[in-house]
């Protein structure tokens, strides 16, 4: 195992150890926090594919997080009420099955990403940031005014969706589901970035024109990466909705987009386990400092500033440097 692979495994193992340790010591609240970290890390792994490897600074990934959440909420609430989600053009029944909801959430998010990506990838740099943000805000305001599903108040569903053979209400079992999906997304990311597609994507980030001179069309590459990235974030959104049994427009807001970006930058841009470390540290700080002051995010801001200025490789970059010294 290479040094990077060892580090990635160690970070993931640390998260799993926290959850199991908390379970053994009878602290289900901490297990739930670890689950939250795993789900947010999953969103970060998704964003990392676009931002870290593709160089696409999307400031609107909350739109995919939120869409994944809303798909879950809508299906679950219809299943509870016993009404169909829609009867036109054909009847789609509600569902309380995670295995049915996840693909639906990912497909809907991917479709949204095709549209958003195709339009925003015509621009680059600060315009790309602004266009992705604008799309996310559009959907955010739509959700606020969507009375049928709670509008501004959001949408609650009282029963967590089910998974065959598991009790999803047991914190450790729901953590296991989230952690396995996180591991799968990390493995998928690793495969993609090492494939010729992934290499070309990274090459396009380094220089678009040179990639074209090699006969590759960067737009197709970047759009594919953007859609894959969005689908992973959509899956995270679905899990997050299930974790809280609640979705609201906040999941779609630009604060959320920013938070997902913070996980990636804090942990290490373009590093496989970067978002895991980033989300973990974020949750830890929120818990430790959130009790001290409601302005804890000011300290997070300082930390972020320090990372960007002095450790552009993020937490994982620091750890990797430490390992090299040993």
């Amino acid at each position: 195992m290479g040094r990077d692979a060892a580090l990635n495994t160690a970070v993931f193992a640390a998260l799993v150890a926290v959850a199991f340790g908390a379970h053994v010591y009878g602290a289900p609240y901490v297990v739930t926090l670890a689950t939250k970290a795993a789900i947010l890390a999953l969103a970060g792994v998704g964003l990392n594919l676009a931002l870290g490897y593709g160089g696409m600074v999307s400031f609107g990934h909350a739109v995919f997080f939120g869409i994944g959440g809303y798909v879950t909420g809508i299906f679950a609430s219809h299943a509870a009420a016993g009404t169909p989600v829609t009867t036109f053009p054909f009847t789609i029944a509600g569902s309380a099955e995670m295995l049915g909801i996840w693909p639906m959430a990912m497909v809907v998010t991917a479709l949204a990403a095709v549209v958003i990506g195709a339009l925003s990838l015509r621009t680059t740099g600060v315009y790309f940031i602004m266009v992705t943000l604008a799309f996310a805000q559009m959907v955010y305001y739509f959700a606020i005014s969507w009375r049928a599903y709670g509008g501004e108040d959001g949408l609650s569903f009282y029963v967590r969706n089910s998974f065959p053979g598991l009790n999803t209400f047991a914190p450790l079992q729901f953590f296991a589901i989230s952690a396995v999906l996180l591991a799968m997304a990390m493995a998928f990311s690793a495969l993609v970035t090492r494939s010729r597609f992934g290499l070309a994507l990274q090459a396009a980030r380094a220089n678009r024109q040179r990639v074209m001179a090699s006969g590759i069309r960067p737009f197709a590459l970047q759009l594919t990466a953007f859609v894959l990235s969005a689908a992973i974030v959509g899956l995270a959104g679905a899990l997050y909705a299930d974790l809280n049994r609640f979705v609201s427009p906040a999941m779609l807001s630009w604060h959320m987009s920013g938070e997902i970006m913070v996980f990636v930058i804090l942990g290490g841009v373009g590093r496989l386990a970067g978002p895991v470390a980033g989300a973990g540290v974020f949750i830890l700080l929120e818990q430790l400092l959130g009790g001290v002051s409601e302005y804890w995010q000011a300290l997070l801001g300082l930390l972020l500033l320090a990372i960007v200025l002095y450790a552009p490789g993020g937490i994982l970059g620091l750890l990797a440097r430490g390992m090299r010294r040993v």
Partner: protein, 229 residues
């Protein structure tokens, strides 16, 4: 011998500033053509226009029977134009092997053949491109263009700023490529080395073709008049 690339009265502009005023040149199959001229006369602009990295405002560019004028640059590459850009641009964060894998298109040129041409690259496959020396980066840039299995290789200042021993290695590789029957369009400052490898020469002055003919006919007078500083 059949014509591979043909430019006729090509004009191009950087925004409002016209850069090419009528470039004509031709490259036959298995021929090496030198594109010459002083600095700022439009050599790199011509190359960029051929590769569709900048639009031509007029004229005709035909490659292997296909009109290039409206094609995007990745299509030009797919048709078989392999560019080694000025300033040896590699994909810095990727390793040597990855740089080559990204560009690879099916054909006779593969990893084995490019590392046979540049054994030094074969020794550094796992190293990231940014850690290579200037000469090695230049070799990588040429190897990457070859991996696309081009029908025409364009070398823009391939030996500029390199140590004499490395230059020597690269010229040897260019001669080997010529012997293998590859068509090459070459820009370089060293008249001596160009003379040894080019079949024909095209001289540009202020964005216009002012002379073209056999390399052997580039006399001292012509060189002094169009190339001297």
């Amino acid at each position: 011998m059949s014509r591979l690339l043909e430019l006729e009265a090509v004009t191009a502009a950087y925004g409002p500033v016209q850069a090419l005023f009528g470039v004509g040149l031709g490259v036959d199959e298995a021929e090496v053509v030198a594109l010459m001229g002083r600095n700022g006369m439009g050599k790199t602009t011509t190359v960029r226009t051929i590769c569709r990295m900048m639009p031509a405002t007029g004229g005709r560019i035909v490659f292997a029977g296909v009109d290039l004028l409206r094609l995007p640059s990745h299509r030009a590459a797919q048709l078989g134009i392999g560019l080694v850009p000025e300033g040896r641009r590699t994909f810095a964060p990727l390793t040597v092997a990855e740089n080559l894998a990204v560009a690879a298109r099916p054909g006779a040129w593969d990893l084995g053949r490019v590392t046979a041409l540049f054994p030094r690259l074969g020794e550094r496959l796992g190293q990231t491109a940014r850690t290579l020396s200037g000469g090695e980066q230049q070799m990588l840039a040429i190897a990457r263009a070859l991996m696309t299995n081009p029908r025409l290789l364009i070398l823009d200042e391939a030996t500029e700023g390199l140590a004499p021993s490395v230059r020597h290695e690269i010229w040897a590789a260019i001669r080997a490529l010529k012997q293998q029957g590859l068509s090459i369009l070459l820009i370089d400052k060293s008249l001596k080395e160009i003379s040894a490898v080019a079949d024909r020469a095209v001289i540009l002055e202020r964005g216009e073709t002012v002379w073209s003919g056999a390399m052997a006919d580039v006399t001292t007078q012509i060189a002094d008049r169009h190339l001297g500083v």
